[in-house]
Amino acid sequence: MSRIVPEDAKRVAALARLRLDDEELSEMTAHLERILGYVDLLSEVDTADVEPTAHAIPLATPTREDEPSGEFAPEQAMANAPAAEDMAFAVPKVLDDEVTG
């Protein structure tokens, strides 16, 4: 039986780049525990000799020539940017972040 504590939910939220307030944290902890408790049902199946399925209809990975296809222009690609400068996506500084984050 999976025991999920708020620290687990917090750790996973950090991995997923989500921030949970206290109420969300307690609700998500309870929900994760409930759902993971349910999926423990799978442990009753012996799968030691079973190969995993990633795709139901296996296809060989197709390849193609590496040629420019001109999907859309840079201006179009940038058109949805919440903030842009000189045809680049603008974001807050990252350096301090890596050290502390």
């Binding site: 399925t53 139901a56 179009q76 807050p92 984050g101």
Partner: protein
């Protein structure tokens, strides 16, 4: 024109004879979308001007004898997660506020080529995560049969729009039942094609190994026309089947004699399933038997593990797919972020609704170090066993006949407290996605005034067969002609 839309072939005749025009059809659809559609919250956006000018172009083609396809000039709705160039695509999420797609999905491009007219974007559960359309940033859609009830989900807006006769056809997407379950709840036909039949290019990804776009309509025959139009190999989707477009519409012979129909024992013994639903499904099987089909009981011994395996795999894939929504390149960015991590966290926390956050957390957990084998890999192995169950069953029958859902449409709010209760309502639909099978839901009667869905599942690639069985049933019965009275 106040008469309801007819079938695709009736509409085509009416257009050919000049009894109506595409402009008239599109105007009617737009009026109904703004009227009854508004009351049902079926749409998140209408495309009035574009649709009317596309209608005029269709009328001009018809006048010039240049009709492109059986869908030329017909109105349809598309789910808000299938992108169109120059139009918003929001997935009913705050995080995609302001997003305008720079490209067409392959399905929409094919429909444009066929002359079909998109009138608007349909409401849905945020990022297609849900079974009730209650997880929409725009508020829940309502069931035309009873507005206090859910139309199902996640393609609830598309389905309600068809059921309320706003459009004769719509596109949904089905990751674990998101076309078939709302079709069952709203008394229409909805089909999930074999995985890879319809290109996923331009379908915003939820769980890539499970997602398929598919048709919704009032009949299997109408859905066949729409499926044929959007199917076929697409180099832009590496999981697209290497087959040409389908021609299922010409395979609807109405003949079921000699067809062997399997009834999965486990599906009829599910705890909590409404006996009235099971009874109508058995009656439908008996009706086909009377036409010469043979009924056999089959076993799908791993069925009880399907929902658990599904929610592990789907959330794992979702947590990975939804990492792209970070407020940097498109969509909604949180204000006042102090650093890049702060920007990611704030944008995602403000932009995603709670069910999406829950699934991202669950998916991240099951993929995280130390848990991968116990959860994700275990679920993938169960997926193998489920596939083998179907292979063994289909060795002895042509199709399976099952309920689509264990019960009829539930009330809004009834299942929102406990996510697991909502997940368990997908018990009959998730396996088809895990195994890649084609499946269609069609109405087979009413239980206490609410539609009941009959599901036909076939082996991979047998899209035409499941539609043929559904169509044969509809030639014998008139359940698909029933319309919601409360709506009038």
């Amino acid at each position: 024109m106040s008469e309801p839309f007819g079938s695709v072939s009736e509409l085509r005749s009416a257009l050919d004879s000049g009894e109506t025009s595409s402009r008239e059809l599109i105007q009617r659809a737009l009026e109904r979308a703004a009227g009854v559609g508004e009351r049902l919250s079926a749409f998140v956006g209408l495309q009035n001007e574009q649709a009317l000018s596309a209608a005029d172009a269709a009328d001009a083609r018809r006048a010039a004898g240049e009709v492109r396809s059986p869908l030329d000039g017909l109105p349809l709705a598309i789910k808000d997660n299938i992108v169109q160039q120059g139009e918003p695509a929001g997935c009913a999420s705050r995080i995609l506020e302001g997003y305008v797609s720079p490209f067409d999905s392959t399905a929409v491009a094919k429909l444009r080529g066929a002359g079909a007219v998109v009138i608007g974007r349909a409401n849905m559960d945020e990022f297609a995560m849900g079974s009730s359309t209650e997880n929409s940033a725009h508020g829940p859609s309502r069931n035309p049969w009873d507005p206090e009830r859910s139309p199902g989900g996640s393609s609830g807006g598309s389905t309600a729009a068809v059921a309320a006769d706003i459009v004769p056809l719509a596109l949904g997407s089905d990751t674990g039942g998101s076309i078939r379950q709302p079709a069952a709840f709203c008394g229409v036909v909805g089909m999930k094609p074999t995985y890879g039949r319809v290109s996923r290019w331009g379908l915003v990804a939820f769980a890539s190994s499970l997602d398929q776009i598919g048709p919704l309509g009032h009949s299997a025959a109408d859905c066949a026309v729409l499926l044929d139009a959007i199917s076929g190999h697409d180099p832009a989707d590496s999981t697209s089947l290497p087959e040409p477009a389908l021609t299922t519409a010409s395979a609807l012979t109405g003949d079921v004699s000699g067809l062997v129909i399997g009834l999965p024992r486990e599906y009829f013994e599910t705890e909590g399933a409404d006996p009235a639903v099971l009874e109508l499904v058995r009656a439908a099987a008996a009706r086909l038997e009377a036409e010469g089909a043979k009924l056999v009981e089959v076993d799908l011994p791993h069925s009880r593990y399907a929902v658990a395996a599904y929610y592990l795999i789907a959330t794992a894939e979702a947590s990975s797919n939804l990492a792209r929504f970070d407020g940097v390149r498109y969509g909604r960015r949180a204000e006042g972020a102090a650093s890049l991590t702060d920007l990611y966290e704030r944008s995602r926390s403000e932009g995603f609704g709670s069910e999406v956050k829950r699934r991202i957390l669950l998916g991240t957990y099951v993929l995280s170090a130390g848990y991968y084998d116990a959860y994700y890999r275990k679920a993938q192995k169960i997926r193998t066993l489920l596939r083998r169950d179907f292979e063994a069953a289909f060795a002895g029958c042509d199709v399976l006949l099952t309920p689509t859902t264990p019960e009829t449409a539930f009330r809004l709010g009834e299942k929102t407290e406990d996510p697991l209760t909502m997940y368990l309502s997908d018990i009959y639909t998730v396996s088809a996605n895990l195994a890649g099978l084609p499946g269609v839901s069609l109405p087979c009667g009413l239980a206490e005034g609410l539609p009941v869905g009959l599901q036909v599942l076939g082996p991979p690639m047998e899209d035409a067969t499941v539609l043929r069985v559904a169509d044969a049933y509809q030639r014998l019965t008139d359940h698909h002609l029933a319309r919601p009275e409360k709506l009038a």
